[in-house]
C-alpha cells in the first residue's frame, strides 16, 4: 500500500477464514485485490482504495452521484456475498475506511464485541422475503364473492356502488394487514430470528408491498424458509399475493441488536 491509498473495510469474518474465498471477487475500486487483515481471532475483509476517490472531500462529492453510489454499494455487497454461506460474515455499514493495516488491526483489537457477534451469528445468514399484493386481483375476488347485489343502473345503484367501493377498500386493507402478519409469523417460525422492515414504496417495489421481512437462517436450513415461502404462495396466491425471496445476505438486519 502507498500513501495514496487507504483500506476499505467490508466486514468481519473469523480469523481462520481462507482468503481464497475472495480471490475471484472484484473490490470496490476494481481489481481482484480483496484480502484479510487479522487481529485477535477475527479478520477484516479489506481492499485498497485510492485516496483520490475516498478521502473526505472526494467522497462527499461522490456520495451525491447516484451512478457512483450504486456501483460502490453493489460492490460492497458483492464482496460480502462471496463469503456468505461459507463462513460467518459480520457486515459493516458502507464507508468504513482506514489509512493503513495497522489502523484496521487496532480497530479489530479494540472491539471484543466482534468476536462475540461471530459466535452469536455462527453459521447464520439472512434471507429477505418481500410480499406484494395485486389489489385488482383481490378486489375482483371480493367483488364476485359479494354477488350481484350492486348491479349498475339507477342513481340509487350509483350510491350503493360508492358504499360498496368503500367497503371493498376496507376489506382490502384488512386482508393486507392480516396476510402480512400471518406471512411474517409463518416465516419467523421457519427461522432463527425475524424482522419486519418498513415496506418499500410502490415505485420502488413495483407494486403494493405488504411485507418486507428479513429472516436469519442456518446456512444449511435455507430450504426450510423456501418451503415456508412456497406454502404461503400457495395459500395466498389466488388472493393476488406474490412472494419474492432475496439473498442469501450477510446478517445485515441482525448485527445491531436493539436498534430499530
Amino acid at each position: 500500500m502507498t500513501a495514496t491509498e487507504a483500506l476499505y473495510v467490508y466486514g468481519v469474518v473469523p480469523e481462520a477464514t481462507h482468503p481464497g474465498l475472495f480471490a475471484d471477487v472484484e473490490g470496490i475500486a476494481g481489481g481482484r485485490s480483496v484480502r484479510l487483515v487479522e487481529a485477535k481471532g477475527v479478520a477484516a475483509i479489506v481492499s485498497p482504495v485510492p485516496l483520490g476517490d475516498f478521502e473526505e472531500e472526494a467522497l462527499e462529492q461522490h456520495l451525491r452521484d447516484p451512478a457512483w453510489l450504486e456501483e460502490k454499494v453493489r460492490a460492497h455487497d458483492r464482496v460480502l456475498a462471496a463469503a456468505v454461506g461459507r463462513v460467518t460474515v459480520l457486515p459493516l455499514r458502507f464507508g468504513s475506511i482506514y489509512r493503513g493495516e495497522d489502523h484496521v488491526r487496532t480497530m479489530l483489537a479494540e472491539r471484543d464485541e466482534l468476536a462475540d457477534d461471530l459466535v452469536r451469528l455462527d453459521g447464520l445468514e439472512e434471507l429477505g422475503v418481500k410480499a406484494l399484493l395485486d389489489t385488482s386481483v383481490l378486489r375482483g375476488r371480493l367483488e364476485s364473492a359479494r354477488g350481484a347485489d350492486v348491479a349498475a343502473g339507477s342513481g340509487r345503484a350509483y350510491m350503493l356502488r360508492k358504499g360498496f367501493e368503500r367497503e371493498l377498500d376496507a376489506e382490502v386493507r384488512t386482508f393486507a394487514a392480516t396476510c402480512a402478519d400471518e406471512s411474517h409469523a409463518r416465516l419467523a417460525a421457519a427461522s432463527v430470528a425475524a424482522r419486519a422492515n418498513p415496506t418499500q414504496a410502490p415505485e420502488v417495489a413495483g407494486g403494493d408491498m405488504i411485507l418486507n421481512g428479513a429472516y436469519l437462517v442456518r446456512f444449511d436450513a435455507e430450504e426450510k424458509l423456501r418451503s415456508a415461502v412456497a406454502e404461503l404462495a400457495a395459500r395466498y396466491g389466488d388472493d393476488g399475493v406474490s412472494y419474492e425471496l432475496t439473498g442469501p445476505w450477510p446478517p445485515y438486519n441482525f448485527v445491531e441488536e436493539g436498534e430499530t
Binding site: 447516484p66 454499494v73 460492497h76 457486515p91 459493516l92 455499514r93 458502507f94 489502523h103 415505485e203 432475496t246
Partner: protein
C-alpha cells in the same frame, strides 16, 4: 463495472440478481457502524441514509416534491452545499410526515 453475471462473484448461481432498493436499504442503513479514519463522511452517510430510507419508503411523496426515485434525484446533484441538502431533507421529511428535526452538526 462488472456485468451482472460477474456480480454473482465466487458463488455462481447462489444468488438472484438483486434489486437496488434491497441492496441500498441494507448496505447504507444496516450493518455494523464503525467510524474509520476518514471521518467527514459520517454526517454525509447519515444524511444519505435518512434520504435513502425516505426514498425507499415514500417514493410517491418524493415524486410529488419533484424528486424521482434514485436516478434523476436533484437531491444528489453535484455541487450542492450541505446546508441546502439539509434544508431539502427537512422539507422532504415534513412532506412525508416523518419527524422533521434537523440532523444537527452538533459537536462541530
Amino acid at each position: 463495472m462488472s456485468t451482472p453475471a460477474r456480480r454473482m462473484g465466487a458463488m455462481p448461481g447462489r444468488r438472484e440478481p438483486t434489486q437496488l432498493a434491497d441492496v441500498l436499504e441494507r448496505v447504507l442503513d444496516k450493518g455494523i457502524v464503525i467510524a474509520g479514519d476518514i471521518q467527514v463522511n459520517l454526517l454525509d452517510i447519515e444524511l444519505l441514509t435518512i434520504r435513502i430510507r425516505l426514498l425507499i419508503a415514500s417514493a410517491d411523496k418524493a415524486r410529488e416534491m419533484g424528486i424521482d426515485w434514485w436516478q434523476g434525484d436533484p437531491f444528489l446533484a453535484r455541487g450542492q452545499k450541505r446546508g441546502e441538502l439539509e434544508d431539502r431533507l427537512n422539507r422532504l421529511e415534513r412532506a412525508a410526515g416523518i419527524n422533521g428535526d434537523t440532523p444537527s452538526d452538533d459537536g462541530d
